[in-house]
Symmetry: C2
Subunit: 190 residues, 2 copies
DNA sequence: TGATGCATGTAAGCCGTTACATGATTGT
DNA sequence: ACAATCATGTAACGGCTTACATGCATCA
């Protein structure tokens, strides 16, 4: 389980409230980890009890007050310990692949629409990632700061993770094209 | 949740016991769905109660008897209904990506070994998939049967799912090379 | 003698999803 | 007037993981 660790990383990048974390999990962190606000609030509470994070009440005008969390020493230590702990490469879980194999016992052509929908989602995500890359990593000041500063490491590592998301979406689009071509060979006119 | 449906697909391809299903989930089905024997036995029992599958006692010599399951009409209908139900494209969950972004706040070079281990796992899986493709889909009788038979659909769809696994592993290996090159730039000699 | 494979399970606990709930403010 | 955004939660249910448990057969 890495939700706690994903939260630690996000709070190290920038402190924030549970609500703000939920926003981030819909965007950048969400490229490789999803979480709803319910999960986040529950885990934040546990992390606060364990002394991993500290909360600060931030009064706001025209808005509800918020509890801004930041990482405590114990949290930093927990993250470091997890980083040094080997993890097993995850296995994939593709509902769609189950459906594709299952289609052999039903009507393969009925899956075409579904696969096209998925393909469109992956195209959208790819466009979104590419826009983010353009905005955050190819600006006029890209590489303009001194090399090898911690900030550079943070940026470079964020960038390489984003490139992973881009590679994933491209691979999926290519594969779904392959799937569509295969399904087309077992259409209703056969 | 698609474990039930993955089991239905597997049992339609070939009836088998809970133990045999667990084996398959370590191999071919495991390319895109994992399950342990505990999950499988529990779900099989529920599916039997719901009339989705039927069990047949098979006495064996020098081995414990086994309960061989096959798909009942209700199970076939449940699968068909699920196949026609749209699902949302899943989001990825990459512990490793969390680690990579977290490494900015620790020692980036300490992750190199871990990433290399993962890369090796993906190389092994790729080799395994390619061997399976060679064995099952490029044999002398590939395409030798009459076109567009149900068996062909089953084979073709299994093959396209396997090609998805191959594409995934190739993508991961390429990305992990990218990650290693990035981590190397923030090594201890900086 | 010990490890591995065949075969089937129970129990505990955490994780994740869905639904429900509140309440103010801002924009159409 | 209605929807969306900011902000924080509770409750219930089901899924998944880990550990524990049994027992026979085979092979080194």
């Amino acid at each position: 389980m890495a939700l706690e660790h994903a939260i630690l990383v996000s709070l190290l990048e920038k402190p924030g409230s549970g609500y703000e974390l939920a926003r981030r999990f819909e965007r950048s962190i969400g490229y490789f980890w999803t979480a709803t606000h319910q999960q986040i609030y529950r885990v934040l509470k546990r992390m606060e009890n364990d002394g991993w994070v500290e909360a600060r009440e931030v009064p706001q005008q025209r808005r509800p007050d918020k509890r801004e969390y930041s990482v405590a020493d114990l949290g930093r230590a927990a993250l470091s310990s997890w980083l040094h702990d080997p993890i097993e490469p995850e296995s994939v879980r593709h509902d769609l692949a189950v459906k594709i194999r299952g289609a052999a016992f039903d009507d393969p052509a009925a899956l075409i629409r579904e696969v096209e929908r998925h393909r469109q989602t992956h195209r959208d995500r790819l466009a979104h990632y590419l826009a983010g890359e353009e905005r955050d990593f190819t600006g006029p000041d890209a590489g303009a700061t001194a090399p090898d500063t911690p900030l550079d490491a943070e940026r470079e590592l964020q960038h390489v993770v984003l490139r992973g998301g881009i590679a994933y979406e491209r691979m999926m689009i290519g594969w779904l094209d392959d799937v569509l071509a295969t399904l087309a060979r077992f259409g209703p006119d056969h």
